[in-house]
Amino acid sequence: MRCSSSPVCAVTLGLALALASTAFAQAPPPGGPGGPPGGAPPAPPVDHSFDDLKLPPNGVGLGGIFPPLATPVPPNAPQPSPDPRNLEGAWVHTQSLVFSINQDIDGIRPPYTPRAHKLLAKRLKSIADSKPFINASSTCHPPGLPWQQDLNFPFLIFQSKNRIDVLYQEYHGLQTIYMNPADAPKTRSYMGTSIGHWDGNTLVVVTKGMKNPIWIDVDGTPASANAVITQRIRKVKDGPWSLRIETTLDDPTYYTHPWSWVRDYAWRPEDQIFTEYDCETQVGDKTNNSNAGLVPEPPDDDKP
């Protein structure tokens, strides 16, 4: 099941549970006439196939827990444009830093392929062994989506006629969303190429063409260089303003079918004044061990 928003999902799930509960109540009782044999019903089968991964709870990674961002924007603060297609402004992830995206929008384990299972197990073990693998973040390169968005640093959206520029404070990242596909570059890049269109008041952005495989989170949940990342982005006024992004990852290399999750980003007008993010001074210093204790990851034979 795919949902267009988490509240809708919650309602849908609630309805489904209510219907299931009703159906169960109307069935003949265990041990009764026409019913199943008495005694406790058999437990549903438990899927142990991922136990070896020792995945942390969703939203919490082996790296620890960051507190959620917090102070609400005062009611007299500048507000976003009332135009639902104007997404301009500064936005910041509302949740704790998500180290591990290991549940989809319905709370179900991502549909890992055996290859993803093996790779993720290797990465989690490297963290547990205190020998984490080198990744884009540690080499001061753009980490790609959605990692770039999920960090607790602000990003800024600027809209022009044929383009949307998203500037990220961390890694001084840049995502260009081309509203005219003819303008999009044909070469691969670290962030991939993003092409957007409006579906009503929802901005639909399809990103693909990454130069390298990416980690979609800090713990190393994988996506291949050929992954297709579709994001449905819209402004939501549910109390304070937020930007709701539903991400769908379509990547047959690592997942048996596309899967989705949702994040909310708070309107933070004061955060458009970025503070400097400088990783080059440390990483670019060839007189030090710029890998900072991280070790090279064995190849996964996933080059484009």
Binding site: P74, F158, R163, H172, L174, Y190, E280, T281
Partner: protein, 236 residues
């Protein structure tokens, strides 16, 4: 579609964390929004009020840096040796285009060079000196007609003003960014740093308007790691 100057609806007259008045963007200021590129590429600034008035210590550091440059030793320059941010004012010498976004709370400079940004705060809020200053310092500005007047301070002392001129963390950079025509932008700098210079000195950089187009994904470290210079070397 919205006007670029209507990114924030001015529903409130206060900033989020502290009570500060929002800047009113003059209509003429909208004209500096756009994509620009340095008109005459350079690695160094040319003073407009006499030679750079070095103090004795700073002159020696400057001469040492020049000697290192001649030998091709860039270890004194974190931008050329590590891809660290050139900081202010050296960012204005980067050879790639940059974009200026004018909004009521801030003016954002988006550089194609290594995807850097610099924000000028227009809110008038108070800043305490940071424990360690960033390469870009902290920039606060206001509008005087169509000119953006910027005061930059609290800089890291680890950057250079250009390819060889050092400065201290006491440096203050005053700028006046204004149009000299529809497609020409000028940034007048006044550099004040009593720890490094005996008096304030002036310089300026001129930019030419560029067609609006997306920036390439520029990764300075990839250039550095393949033997290219982060910034081009242009003789004084």
């Amino acid at each position: 579609m919205m006007s670029n100057l209507q990114g924030c609806a001015l529903a409130g007259a206060m900033m989020a964390a502290s009570a500060v008045a929002l800047s009113v963007v003059p209509a003429a200021a909208a004209s500096i929004e756009g994509t620009w590129k340095i008109s005459t590429p350079a690695s160094s600034f040319t003073p407009t009020n006499g030679p750079i008035p070095f103090t004795a210590d700073t002159k020696k550091d400057y001469e040492d840096n020049q000697a290192s440059l001649v030998k091709g030793d860039f270890s004194f320059d974190r931008t050329q040796s590590r891809c660290s941010s050139p900081g202010v004012p050296r960012l204005s010498l980067t050879p790639l285009p940059f974009r200026i976004w004018v909004r009521p709370l801030a003016v954002t400079f988006q550089y194609e060079w290594n995807r850097l940004t610099r924000t000028v705060d227009l809110t008038g809020r108070k800043f305490d000196a940071p424990f360690a200053g960033p390469a870009i310092g902290i920039s606060q500005g206001h509008w005087e007609g169509g000119a953006l007047v910027i005061k930059g301070q609290y800089f890291s002392e680890d950057t250079l003003i250009d390819d060889a001129v050092p400065h201290s963390d006491s440096m203050v950079v005053d700028e006046r960014l204004h149009l000299k025509g529809a497609n020409t932008l000028e940034d007048d700098f006044t550099i004040t740093d009593p720890d490094s210079f005996t008096r304030p000195w002036h310089t300026k950089v001129t930019y030419t308007r560029q067609p609006d187009q997306a920036f390439a994904e520029d990764i300075c470290l990839d250039r550095l790691n393949t033997g290219q210079m982060p910034l081009p070397m242009i003789k004084r």
